[in-house]
Symmetry: C2
DNA sequence: GCCCGGTTGTAACGGATCGTAACAGAGATT
DNA sequence: AATCTCTGTTACGATCCGTTACAACCGGGC
């Protein structure tokens, strides 16, 4: 059962379930009441430089975020999977383009709408800050990966990091989907596609991983991979969301 | 002439000049009323993991921000020069250490104090967001430099970027100070000290730069350097502060 | 001035990564 | 099933950058 509130922006309405404490007015709940858009694999969601009017939550599929350099090189800034959000760290205009890697469903929230809601629900502000801080931490980890790690270390970090995001943890025989292409991984890790392939092959030879088709990897020796990755994730990734939230609350109140 | 307000945290007070329009309550003005701390070259200001209670503005000198990896490698996340601020993108705890490169003077603001002030002066919030967005943009540029550019391109970007920060622009014979060591530059650009030296020597041979002692560089052919850097800075660096401010205002109101 | 230590510069070498190209495989189309 | 196309894989030579070693420079202290 839902109730509608008039929205101060553009005459649209905002719905939320009644009977829940106002603490349940989370970003997730806000997104939940939005319709879902569909994108085919390879389709663009928005482009670098577009006015950043919307925030997004991926319902299904995988999205790549990237920038194209003047000379044509592509730098992938990150990936977003089902359940994750994007757009929070952008200013007036998106600082990267977003493209569907797989078929994607997503919900979008107008910024103007969120801004209006913050007026009446102050506890929303820290939730926004949380998201920004999370993206900042991810960017800093990325900087370290690109600046300090070798090819194998980068790949190991990428795999371990992918497992972390799925929630399942530590257990030895974990299988994950890597829906993006090798080229995507290369552009994300600052390497070439051939180096990606070579490293994957080496991991396979050494028994660290096994491949089940192109886009599915079994991580057979998580310990070894984590060691290769340099325990870099241990610095704040698991409790990231909690720490971010805690801080965001401290910030705005 | 100043007036004091009770501060909700720990019995301290907040001062600001009276008689000015409230728009003059900028971060700069807040810092201006703080005493300055002194640090000798090499001295630490704070350490990664410390509770992030303070924001800082450098009054004089240069500070390096870095993280130490488990295996001892050092990743320099950035430098801060006189007039610049730091600490905004950190959560409950600092995500990097800060060390004086040269003798440094800085002013510090307690976070709790700023938070309290935001209550009574809503227009402060967008100023904080601006700073966070600026650091996010810098991080994204850094990611592209480390992931996509070669050694010469990285160095060219570093030099051009340093000129941009001083304010003076485009004019051919520009001389800048690089107070940090070659090792610092190497750890910032993800290269070794020898590669830094090689590239600097090559730039000198090719007439792109001239050296006046170790820590002073004359950029003789800015055009060539900018071209090498891949016009990467053109993507938002000059108007960064304005765009950030504009967005931050939109965000919080 | 002189010494001394740390920083910086130079060179030679080796290894990691890149670029090209040829091939293999999977999925789509006919 | 046959073909086509795109992606992925492997091999090999080229290049870039890291490693090692050592010399030169600079600044501070005596």
């Amino acid at each position: 059962m839902y109730v509608s509130y008039p929205d101060s922006s553009a005459g649209s309405v905002v719905s939320r379930p009644i009977g829940l404490p106002s603490e349940a007015l989370t970003l997730e709940n806000l997104f939940a009441s939005q319709p879902t858009d569909k994108f085919a694999a390879g389709e663009g969601v928005f482009w670098e430089g577009d006015a950043a009017c919307d925030l997004f939550q991926i319902t299904e599929g995988c999205v790549r975020l990237y920038r194209i350099l003047p000379d044509g090189r592509r730098a992938i800034m990150g990936f977003r999977f089902a359940g994750e959000m994007l757009g929070f760290s952008c200013q007036t205009n998106y600082s990267y383009s977003a493209e569907a890697v797989t078929p994607v469903r997503l919900r979008r929230l107008r910024r103007a709408r969120i801004q209006a809601m913050v007026e009446g629900a102050e506890h929303l502000q820290p939730l926004l800050l949380t998201k920004i801080f999370e993206e900042m931490e991810a960017a800093q980890r990325h900087i370290i990966v690109l600046g300090q790690l070798g090819a194998e270390e980068r790949m190991a970090h990428f795999l371990v990091s992918a497992v972390r995001r799925t929630g399942m943890d530590q257990k030895r025989p974990v299988a994950i989907d890597l829906p993006m292409t090798r080229q995507d991984i290369a552009d994300y890790l600052g390497l070439t596609i051939e180096t990606i392939c070579r490293v994957i092959s080496k991991f396979k030879r050494d028994g660290l991983i096994a491949l089940e088709g192109r886009h599915r990897v079994v991580l057979r020796r998580m310990g070894a991979l984590q060691e290769l990755a340099g325990e870099l994730d241990a610095l704040g990734e698991p409790s990231e969301a909690q720490a971010g939230l805690k801080q965001a609350i401290a910030w705005s109140h």
